[in-house]
């Protein structure tokens, strides 16, 4: 009988869900264009408006690319999930999943993979566009690429977990974007994505330092800007270890909140 055979593992189903989520995402043309191409459009606008050089070999575009990749982590993970999950909840697709033997962790793994893959595509497009049109330089130091890799992986994971956690906040699928988007935009301004962080008022810097985007942005600057630029950071260094610890803390908090608050249906 059926119950004697064992169920597929949570991880295997998570990977299967990831594949399904990615396929679904790729078929939604509007969201593909918006998520993947929007950062390049922003880079084009800012790169054309601000032609200043911030330091020796640091164009505004170079500074801005670091910020765009970091905010890509927040957009593709946190923002995207906190908007789409309430819709899935409203449509009843989550309730249907709840009725199957699938473990909730498989659903979370699927979302993480979706975020990681769309992040990877976005980064490739952004860096390629930046190099070709705006003279963005890639780091040559392998250590910087290592930092880059863990920032993307850890950042995506934390952003995913926080997005799932925040998905319980909007009361309806339709209203979700109005609740989530302002949070993200304010965070981007405060965290030095659009402006040089140290030019922001002190209180803004202090508020931003609580949230992960500031640390993601600073981490990405450590990858894309010369080490000499670290002197112009708030602490005078890149604070790489601290960035790692703070993102880890957000990841753990995000997972905890996601598990505690996740709802399969609206009532």
């Amino acid at each position: 009988m059926s119950q004697k055979k064992s169920l597929p593992t949570t991880i295997a189903l998570g990977v299967a869900r990831g594949g399904l989520e990615i396929r679904q995402f790729m078929r939604q043309r509007e969201s593909v264009v918006f998520t993947l191409a929007f950062p390049i459009i922003l880079l084009a606008i800012f790169g054309s408006v601000f032609k200043t050089t911030l330091a020796e070999g640091v164009t505004f575009s170079q500074y801005f690319v670091a910020g765009m990749i970091a905010s890509g982590l927040v957009n593709t993970g946190f923002q995207q999930l906190a908007i789409t999950i309430p819709m899935e909840r409203e449509f009843g697709s989550l309730k249907r999943l709840r009725g199957t033997p699938m473990h909730v962790a498989s659903y979370f793994i699927g979302k993480s993979l979706l975020v990681l893959v769309s992040m990877a595509i976005q980064v490739v497009l952004l860096l390629a566009g930046g190099m070709i049109f705006f003279g963005v330089q890639l780091p040559s130091d392998p250590y910087k690429w290592l930092t880059f890799t863990w920032l993307i992986v850890l950042g995506s994971a934390a952003s995913t977990a926080l997005g799932i956690a925040f998905s319980s906040v909007p009361k309806s699928g339709r209203g979700a974007s109005a609740v989530v988007s302002p949070v993200v935009i304010i965070l981007q301004f405060f965290s030095g994505v659009f402006f040089v962080f140290t030019d922001l008022p002190g209180w803004m810097q202090q508020v931003a330092a609580i949230f992960p985007l500031k640390w993601m942005t600073q981490g990405m600057r450590s990858v894309f800007l010369p080490d000499s630029f670290a002197l112009r950071e708030v602490a005078g260094t890149w604070e790489t270890e601290r960035t790692f610890l703070i993102l880890m803390a957000w990841l753990v908090a995000g997972i905890f909140l996601a598990i505690r608050t996740f709802k399969w249906s609206r009532d």
Partner: protein
């Protein structure tokens, strides 16, 4: 063996008693229909049995398991049941075949994907994206997802709402084939003809209580109710209620020279019985 056993089920929302002391026993292989007006407590009862809601009190056993429990045990339990919810509207960017074969992965012993697609009559739509399906086709996909795990127990919540008559007949024969395979089915429906065609037993619920559990032919004393004989005489419709309609027809055929004008012998339909039952209690 009983697949579902419920005793003294209660559930209150704020100050509304949604379920007010329900007892229910459903045997293996049975098709059982829950009938009742909107807000009678049907969906709440079913959702408690499906493990979506927690009862305030009462003892519940579904396939020998308490649905409110969580954990690995609960997933093994879900592996043995299938649920077709009232309505699910996915974003619809996957095809019928992709969706069904994905859901097949959730279960330890899924049915064959092609066979399931065929049995719900979606062969021609297997490659179509869900968002291009009609309402009835979507509903058939819902049913396909409910049965893909080869469930021992299937919950069907108003499965044919929005079907045209032809699709409803096709759906009924699908249910018949599941019955032959030994699947136990708990069905809620608004359509009395559906309950009559499919169910071994029906229960009528109003205001959170079960009024009666019976076979569709015997519900509300239907089997023993008087028959109504109708005919036309001198241009006026006549009718007579009788326990012996054959005698009345004999008498009429003697009375009229040829055909008795517009002769009809009517037994109360399940719908007549049902409406009078819930009418009394409103």
């Amino acid at each position: 063996m009983n697949v579902i056993e419920v005793q003294g089920l209660h559930k209150t929302y704020a100050d509304t008693k949604a379920v007010d002391g329900i007892d229910l026993t459903i045997a293996q292989g049975e098709i059982f229909a829950l009938l009742g007006p909107n807000g009678a407590g049907k969906t709440t009862t079913v959702e408690i049995l499906e493990g979506f809601r927690k009862a305030d009190s009462g003892s519940i056993s579904v396939l020998g398991f308490d649905p409110s429990q969580r954990g690995a045990q609960s997933r093994m339990w879900r592996n043995r049941i299938g649920i077709v919810l009232q309505s699910t509207a996915d974003a619809g960017d996957l095809s019928v075949e992709e969706t069904i074969s994905h859901f097949a992965k959730y279960y330890s012993a899924p049915r064959d994907v092609d066979e399931v697609i065929n049995s719900v009559g979606l062969d021609e739509k297997r490659g179509a994206l869900i968002r291009t399906l009609s309402g009835g086709q979507r509903r058939r996909l819902d049913v396909a997802l409910g049965i893909i795990g080869s469930p021992e127990l299937l919950f069907l919540d108003e499965p044919t709402t929005g079907f045209d008559p032809e699709a409803r007949r096709a759906f009924w024969s699908l249910i018949e084939s599941l019955r032959k395979g030994g699947t136990t089915i708990l069905l809620t429906t608004h359509y009395l003809d559906e309950a009559e065609a499919l169910a071994d037993r029906v229960a009528v619920i109003t205001r959170g209580k079960i009024l009666e559990v019976s076979t569709p032919t015997q519900l509300g004393g239907r089997a023993t109710a008087k028959a109504r004989v109708q005919w036309k005489s001198d241009g006026v419709m006549q009718e007579e209620f009788t326990d012996n309609p054959t005698d009345v027809v004999k008498r009429l055929s003697a009375q009229f020279p040829g055909e008795v004008p517009e002769l009809q012998v009517l037994r109360p339909s399940l719908e007549d019985i049902y409406l009078s039952m819930i009418g009394e209690k409103r």
